[in-house]
Each structure stands twice: as C-alpha cells, then as structure tokens.
C-alpha cells in the first residue's frame, strides 16, 4: 500500500509511510477493536431506526386504540401494547430520536462550552484560571439531580430543558480534561511563534490551541454521550423530562408501566432493553475510540 511519490523537481523520490484510505482505516478499526466495531454497529443501527422511524414503525406511536389495551406481544404488535393500546415497538422506534437528540445535543453543548472554558483557563492562567477553576468546582460538587429538578420547575418539563439540565454537569468535567491538555499544548514553540507574529489571544486560543486538544475533546464527547442518554432516561423516569405522550424511553418505564407491570411486563422490559443496548453501543465505541486516540493507551 506504500505510495511512491515523485517530487516535481524530478531529482529525488521518496517512499512515504503507507497512507490509509478511509476504507482501510475502517477495516483496521474492525480488526483491532472488535468491541468498538460492535458498538459502532449498534450506534449506526440506532441512527438508522431513528432516521427512518416514520417508515419503519408499524403504527403511529401516539394513536390510542382502546380495543387493544395491554395486548401481549404478537405478530401484529411485536412488543405488545400499553395502557392506551399504543404499539410499544413503534414508540421505542420514535423514542430513539429523542434519546439520540438529547444525547448528542447535551454532550456536544456541555463538552464544547467546557472545552472553551478549559482552553481559556489554561491559556490565560492567573486569576482567570483560579476563578474559572473554582466555578467548575462548585458545579462539580452541586448535586446534578437538584439542578435538573430546579431547571424543570423553572422552565417546565420538556425535552429541550432536559438537555440543559444534562449539559450543565458535563461542562466542568470537559473543562478539567481539556484544560490539562491545553496546559501542555500552550508550552509548544509554535504557540510562542504565533504570539510573536502578533496574533490576538482569541486567535491563538481558537486557531492554534483548540485544534490541538481535539483528541481529548472527541474522547470526552463520546464518553458523555452514553451517560447523557442514561441521564435522560433517569430524569424522565422521575417525571422531570419529557411529558406524556412523548415516546421517551425513560418515560415509558415510569408511572403506568410500573403500576401495570405485573399485568403487562413487556411495558417496562422493552424500553429498558432499548436504553441498555443504545448506551452499551455508545460506551463500547467510546472505549475503543479512547484506546485508539489516547497515545498512552495505544498498543495495549
């Protein structure tokens, strides 16, 4: 696979290290990290189901059918129906949209804000660093659930408010990780060089430090994805997340699913399986990605 490159001067030629195409990279990832590949497959499956829920779902997730309450899993309703006669499978398929939406937006927003704060903290140092670090300490020590509870009471229980409640506790974690990475990046000669060239502080931070802390940033985004989905389920279960009739996985596990669980055990079983499988996929993938990107763990 080595590429022979003939330089334009025509006098010298050099053999570069084999450059992998995207397909090669994928094959390498699947070979060396089978668990990670399995995780990626689960994520892709979940994305596909969420994207084509309207086509795949056999029934309307909101349509009640009072003739068919608590129907057992059958050929018509694979995962049975709930107390309103709604098809559980269809609700789980639409629920994938909410889980992915909350997972991606909360993790992305929290990590991005955290990364910006972390880079600022590391680059400016001094009083700014001290102040931001204390602020992060406060956010870390503050119980997440109380924060979510407060946000739900102030803004009302809705999916987008859950995103805020989940994103805020992610900020200090991301800030910590990115700050320590940025501290070492900052010491590089090239940062000094752009500084000497007269680049402004925001320019140095965003254009020269930010790109070099991308590896820890990507690692923490993927690591937080799974836990954000889990947090959404827990908050919805407590009645702080999406409100009925939204097909949220956590919500499907709460309230009526519990009171009718003896009569209709499929009501809590399948949404729980969906949550577990989704988070499992994200965690498997995130783990392998960390192994692949973190130089300290490489080759283990």
């Amino acid at each position: 696979m080595a590429t022979r490159v003939v330089l334009t001067h025509g006098t010298a030629s050099a053999t570069l290290a084999p450059r992998l195409t995207l397909a090669d990279e994928v094959v390498k990832f699947v070979r060396t990290k089978p668990l990670g590949a399995a995780g990626a497959a689960i994520i892709l499956g979940m994305l596909a189901v969420a994207a084509s829920a309207h086509a795949l779902a056999p029934y309307d997730p909101y349509r009640a059918d009072y003739g068919l309450q608590f129907a057992r899993p059958s050929l018509e309703h694979w995962f049975g129906t709930d107390e309103f006669g709604r098809d559980v499978l269809s609700r789980i398929m639409y629920g994938a949209r909410i889980a992915l939406f909350v997972g991606f937006t909360a993790s992305f927003a929290g990590c991005t804000i955290g990364a910006l704060l972390g880079v600022t903290s590391a680059y400016l140092g001094g009083k700014v660093d001290l102040l931001l670090e204390r602020l992060m300490d406060v956010l870390l020590a503050f119980p997440q659930l109380i924060l979510a509870l407060a946000i739900a009471s102030i803004l009302g229980p809705a999916v987008q408010n859950v995103v805020i409640a989940i994103a805020i506790p992610i900020i200090p974690r991301a800030a910590r990780v990115v700050r320590s990475a940025a501290l070492s990046v900052k010491e590089n000669v090239y940062v000094e060089a752009v500084h000497a060239l007269g680049a402004s502080r925001p320019r140095v931070m965003l254009q020269h430090i930010m790109p070099n802390v991308m590896a820890p940033y990507i690692i923490i985004v993927t690591a937080q994805l799974g836990s954000a989905i889990l947090a959404e389920a827990a908050l919805s279960y407590l009645g702080l997340g999406a409100a009925e009739p939204t097909p949220s996985w956590g919500l499907m596990l709460s309230g009526s699913a519990l009171s009718y669980a003896e009569k209709a055990p499929w009501m809590p079983i399948f949404p729980g399986l969906a949550i577990s499988l989704g988070v499992f996929g994200f965690n498997l993938f995130g783990d392998s990605l960390r192994d692949a990107l973190d130089p300290k763990l490489r080759g283990r």
Binding site: L35, R134, L135, D137, V138, L140, A141, F142, P143, L145, I146, L147, L149, A150, S153, I154, G226, L230, A233, A234, Y237, L238, G250, L253, L258, A261, E262, P265, P268, I269, G272, I275, S276, L277, G278, V279, F280, F282, N283, L284, D287, L297, R300
Partner: protein, 317 residues
Amino acid sequence: MRTYVLKRLLLVVPTLLGVASLVFVIMRVIPGDVALLILGGDAGNVDQKQLVAMRAQLGLDQPLLVQFGTWLWGVLRLDFGTSLWTGQPVTEELLIRLPLSLELALLATLVSVLIAIPLGMLAAVRQDTWVDYAVRIVSIGGLAIPSFWIGILCILALVIFFGWGPPLEFTPPWVDPWANLEMMLWPVLTVGYRYSAVTTRMTRSTLLEVLREDYIRTAWAKGLRERAVVIRHALKNAMLPVVTLIGTEFAFLIGGLVVTETVFTLNGIGRFVVDAVAHRDYPVVQALVFLIAFSFVVVNLLVDLTYAWFDPRIRYR
C-alpha cells in the same frame, strides 16, 4: 507538604461558599410560594393577612440578603435551621433518614468491591483473551443498564414468581437484621453491580499499567509464581487509584441514589431532597445540598492529599 495541605484546605472555602450561594439562589428563583403551599390554597382563596403572617413566621418577609446571612451564620455554627413544614430541626429530620442511606451506600460499595477487584484482576492478567472480553462486556453492560430498570425487573420477578414484595418499612439492622436484609438486599445488589463496573475498569487499567513496570519483570525473573507476582507485587501497587475511586463513589452514593430509592420506595436522603424541593422547604434543601457537596469536597480533598502523600511530585506543582 504543609503548604500544599494548607492551600488545598483554603480552596475548599470558596467552593462551599459557591455551592451555598447557588442553592440559595436556585431555591428563591424556583416559582412557588411555600407559605401559600403550607396554607394549602391558590392565591385567590387564602386570606392575605394569614399569608403575610405565615411569611413572617417562616422568616420569609426579611430581605434576601438577611436570609442568606442568617443561613450562612447558622451553617458556621452547624445549625441548619428548622424545616418550614414540620418545624423540626433539619438535623433531626436528617438523622432519621441517614442510617438507611448510609447502610445502602456502605453495602453497595462492599458488593461493588467484591465483584470488581477479582474481575478487574482477571481481565488484566488475561488481557485480550475471551476472559478479558467477557469481563469488559459485563462491566460496560453494568454502566449501560439503568440501575432503576434492573430494580424494576427485580421487584417484578419477585412479585410474579414468588408473590413476594420487599417490605416497605425500614428496620435498622440492630433491631432485626433479617427484616433489614430483606429490604436492602435488592437495592444493594443492583447499585453494587452498577458501581462495580467503574471499579472493574479502573482495576483492570491500572493493573495493566503496573504489570509493565520493571519491578514486575524482576519479580517474574526471580521465578515467583503468578499468584505472588500479581497479588503481592502488582495489585498492591495498583490499588491506590482504585481505593480513591471507591472513596469518591461512596461519597456520591450517600445522597445520589434518588432513582433507586424511588424504585424501591426507600425513605433515604435522596428522596428527602427531592420531596423538599417539591415542598419548597428551603432550609432542608439548602442543608442537604450543602452536606452532599461538603462530603463530595471532603472526599476529593482526602483523595488528593493521599496522592500527594504517596507521590511527592504532585505537591510541588
């Protein structure tokens, strides 16, 4: 070392002050009037005079800054005030629920350690074999499966197959250990399994790191048996991060098990905070959030100090 300890201790103060201010502000921003809630009416049908009197009685008619000052001054004297609803001192209300939460946290941590250390060790020693993969799948699974869902399934299985539900009333272990165990067993197992996942992974990765050290190669070269190398030489040196992780988890478990307590209808600290928020019982929420944050900060401080004690390089940073 002394300057380091002093510096770290000083940093605790702004953190706790920040948490105290944040919870105070949040509670005042949340809509809902506790005086109105206690009188049990909507704004229309409650006598205004009565409402004003109730507010004065609860001390809510004073300026916010005064309220904040009074509360902080109380915290400094370890007096957390009285619950707006029951009129009982917050400390007393807390002490009723603490044994349950403490026992749950303690037993769950114990279970997680008993699962995690052997599994993590096994995975590290047999790295990249099917044993390693199995352990990793089980532990990543533990992180992925919502513990409240396992709790629901446990209760469901017990009820359906054995027609038996866990008791609802908490019996302290010193009164009737059997009744206590009956109630605590399932929550302890579900929480323990989940938190073992984190510890298993930590044990595995630190042990892998240690197993590559020179002194381990020396131990092998001396011809020691695998058991001696792994347990006597490697595990001991890999334990520090694991022990500190267990410490932080324990601190979290005391107040952080709201969902588990809800599933198993346990009357612990977690439920207590949530109920207090719903009732707008300001002193209770403030005290509990402060105490949860306090234990978090103290455990983290202890963790950092232990590291500094063992690794002199940290102190001079």
